[in-house]
Symmetry: C2
Subunit: 409 residues, 2 copies
C-alpha cells in the first residue's frame, strides 16, 4: 500500500487557500461561504477516491468505502473537521480529513479487502466560533445533542445554523449516527509543543483533558482613581487580577497537570482614571483527571468567596462549557504505538489538551487519536506548521491502524 | 453680606440638566453643543451678577468685577470648569463656577468695596475627555501650553478644538493670562470619601498629588489554552495581572500614601481558549510627594524588567501624562481654616487626589482650594452628591477668603 503523499500535501495547501479574506486571514466558519467552498472540495476528493458520499442533518459529511462483502457491518471511521478559527492555520482539522480520504483511497487502490466498511468524516462546527457549542457536529452524531437543537443555534452574526446549512446546500438527509462506528481514530496536529520539544514524531493520544469554562463577573465600586484612598476601594480590576494570578499559582504547584487561561477580559467603564466597577473575564481550566478538575473548580470557587469578603466585591460565575476528561481506548492506543514502531517513528503517549471530535465519538465506540508534532506548539494562528514528513508519518500510522481495525487483508 | 443660597443650588441643578442624552447620561464635553449651552447659561449668570464677561483664545470664560478704584490691579480669582466626563454628576467643576459667580455677586450686592478686582473663570476642557491634555484651559492660561497648540488638538471624535470653539462661538480674542491673578482659590467637591468618613465639613487643600500615567504593552506568545503546558507559556495576560497586583501591594505597604489604578485593559486576541499574546493596560499612580512618586515609577520599571525575564515577555511603556505634586500656598490654606472656624465648620487639611485647574493657576500666583464633602466619595458618576448645606458652607468660606484676599471693606 502506497500513500499518495504529494497529493495529500498539495490538497492541504489547496484547502488552506479557501477562505482567505481581504486582510489575508484564513477564516472558514461553520456553514459560511468559505466553508461551502471547502466542503465542495472535500466532497469532490471523496468521490475521486471512489467513496460514496453522504451528508447528515447537521451537515456532517462522510466518504464511505464499503463493499458487497462488508456492507451492513459497523464501519471503522476516521475524520476531523474543516471549519477554522479566525486567522487560522491550514492544518488544524483539515489534516485529519484529507489524510483520512488519502488513507482510505490507498487501502482501496492497493486492492486490499476489509472486513468492515471504512469511512472518513468532516464534522460540522468543531471550532464553535460561529455557533455554540463547539465540536457540535460530532456531538450531534454521537447523540449528545439533537439535530433540531443544533440547527436552531443562533450564530455570533445572528444567523441560524440550520438556515445557513440549507443556504450552502449542506443540510443533508441522513440521520446523525446513521453509520454505526466500530471504532474511530482521529489524526490531528498536536497543537501543543510537547512532541517537538521532546523529539517525538508520533503522539499516541491516550486521554483528553476535561475542560471547564466559566465567565466571572466581579462588581466593585466605580470611583475616582486619584481621590479614593486604597482602603476605600472596591476595585473589580484588582480583584480580577488576583483571580488570574491565583489560578496561575495553582498550575505551578509541583506535579500539577492543570492549565488555566484567562483569554478574555473587560473592565468597565474602562477609563484610565476611574476605578473599574466591573470586570468580566473568562477562566478556562483543564486537567486530564476529573476529580482533580473538580478540585480546581472548588479551589477557584473558594477563592472567589474569600475575595468577596477581602475586597468588598460581588462575584457571579456562569458555566460556559464543561467537558469531562475522556479516556481513549487502550487497545487502539497500543495499535498506534505498534505501528509507529513498525515505521521506526519515535512515539510517546500524550494527553490531548484541546477538545476534539474524537471525544464525542468516544461515546459511541472505541476511539483514540494520533498526533503529529506542531512546530513550537503554535496553533489557531497562521504560523501553525507541521513538517511534511511528519504529516506523512502520521498518515502512515493511521493507514496501518485503520487497516488492522477494519481487518484488511 | 448674604449669599443667595437658593439661587446657587437651583443654578447647579439647571446647569446639571444641560447635556442629558437619550440614555439619560449627562455628557458635556469640551466645545460640544451641550458645552455651548452650558457656557451660554454661565455667561448669562455672570452678566446678571453685574460682571464684565471676557473669553480668551482657548475659550476660557471670565466674569470680572472691577471698579474705578481697583482697575488695573492684579485680580483675586476663583473658578473651575463646566465640562464633564461621560455620564457625569452635576457638581464636579460646576460647583466652583456657580459658587464663584454667587460669591462675587454677593460681595458686590453687599455694597462692599475691594482693593482688587475679583474674577470667576470657567476653564475649557478640564476633564480632557474629548481633547488632550486635561486641565487644558488653565494650563494655557498659565502659559504651560500655547493657545495655538491647544487649539490644534484633535479630539477623540476627529474634531479640532479650535474649529469647535469657533463653531460654538467661544473662540475668544483675549490673550490667555490677560487678567493677572494676585491669588486663585478654587472651590470644588472632594470627589473622595475622606471628609464625609471622618466627619469634616470643609477641606483646606494644602497640596495636590503628583500624577503619573503610563500605558503598558506586554507582548507574549499566542497559543492554544488547552495544549500549551504552563511551563511553555508566555502569557501576556498573566503578566498584566502580576503588574496590577504588584502595584496594589505597593499601595498597601504600611504608611504608603500611593494610590495606583489600572482602569483600562485589553487582551488580544481576546478569545476564551487562546493565551493572550498581547495585553495593553494603563497604570495611574499618584502620590503627594515627588520623590516618592519617582520611587514608585522606578519600582514599577524594575518589576517590568524582571517580568520580561521571568515570564518571557516583551514590555513597552509609554508615558501618557505626568504632573508633579503641587504644594498650595500656606497663607491661603490658613485663611480657609480661619474662616471655616469662624462659621463653626469642622475643617481638616487634605490632599487633592484629582488633578485640578488650581494646579495650573499655582504656576501664576498663590493658590489653594476648598473642598466640600462628597457623599461616599463618589464622583465622575451620576450618583455624585454633596448636600446643599455643605455646598453652602463651602461657598461661605470661599466668600470670606476671597473677601480677605481682595481686601474687602
Amino acid at each position: 500500500m502506497e500513500l499518495n503523499e504529494k497529493r495529500m500535501i498539495s490538497r492541504l495547501a489547496e484547502l488552506g487557500r479557501v477562505g482567505i479574506d481581504a486582510e489575508g486571514r484564513r477564516i472558514r466558519l461553520a456553514a459560511d461561504d468559505a466553508d461551502r467552498a471547502g466542503r465542495d472540495l472535500v466532497m469532490g476528493w471523496m468521490r475521486e477516491a471512489g467513496l460514496r458520499t453522504a451528508v447528515d442533518r447537521i451537515g456532517n459529511i462522510f466518504g464511505i468505502w464499503e463493499t458487497e462483502e462488508n456492507r451492513g457491518r459497523d464501519a471503522v471511521m476516521t475524520g476531523s473537521h474543516i471549519d477554522t478559527v479566525i486567522n487560522a492555520g491550514q492544518y488544524d482539522g483539515c489534516y485529519g480529513v484529507i489524510a483520512g480520504i488519502e488513507v482510505i483511497a490507498s487501502l482501496r487502490e492497493a486492492g486490499l479487502r476489509t472486513e468492515r466498511p471504512l469511512a472518513v468524516a468532516a464534522f460540522t462546527n468543531e471550532e464553535g466560533v460561529r455557533y455554540s457549542p463547539d465540536m457540535m457536529g460530532s456531538l450531534v452524531y454521537a447523540g449528545g445533542l439533537s439535530a433540531e437543537a443544533a440547527c436552531a443555534s443562533v450564530g455570533i452574526d445572528g444567523t441560524v445554523l440550520g438556515e445557513e446549512l440549507e443556504r450552502i446546500g449542506y443540510a443533508g438527509t441522513e440521520e446523525p449516527g446513521f453509520l454505526k462506528p466500530a471504532a474511530f481514530v482521529e489524526l490531528h496536529i498536536e497543537q501543543g509543543p510537547i512532541l517537538e520539544a521532546e523529539g517525538y514524531r508520533i503522539g499516541a493520544v491516550e486521554d483528553l483533558q476535561g475542560i471547564s469554562w466559566q465567565r466571572i463577573t466581579i462588581e466593585g465600586e466605580q470611583n475616582h482613581a486619584g481621590t479614593t484612598p486604597t482602603s476605600y476601594r472596591h476595585d473589580a480590576g484588582v480583584a480580577a487580577a488576583k483571580v488570574i494570578t491565583f489560578m496561575r499559582g495553582r498550575c505551578l504547584q509541583p506535579g500539577s497537570r492543570t492549565v488555566s487561561t484567562t483569554g478574555c477580559i473587560e473592565f468597565s467603564p474602562n477609563a484610565i482614571n476611574v476605578i473599574p466597577d466591573k470586570a468580566v473575564f473568562t477562566v478556562d481550566v483543564r486537567n486530564p483527571d476529573e476529580s482533580t478538575l473538580q478540585a480546581e473548580e472548588k479551589a477557584l470557587a473558594a477563592f472567589l468567596e474569600e475575595l468577596e469578603k477581602t475586597d468588598g466585591v460581588r462575584i457571579r460565575t456562569e458555566r460556559l462549557s464543561r467537558f469531562k476528561p475522556v479516556l481513549f481506548d487502550a487497545g487502539i492506543v497500543r495499535l498506534v504505538e505498534k505501528y509507529a514502531g513498525k515505521h521506526g517513528l519515535s512515539c510517546r503517549r500524550i494527553t490531548s489538551g484541546a477538545g476534539q471530535d474524537a471525544q464525542n465519538m468516544a461515546l459511541l465506540c472505541p476511539t483514540a487519536m494520533i498526533f503529529a508534532p506542531s512546530h513550537k506548539g503554535i496553533s489557531h494562528n497562521p504560523a501553525e506548521y507541521t513538517a511534511d514528513e511528519d504529516l506523512i508519518a502520521g498518515a502512515e500510522v493511521l493507514a496501518d491502524v485503520l487497516g488492522e481495525l477494519a481487518e484488511a487483508h
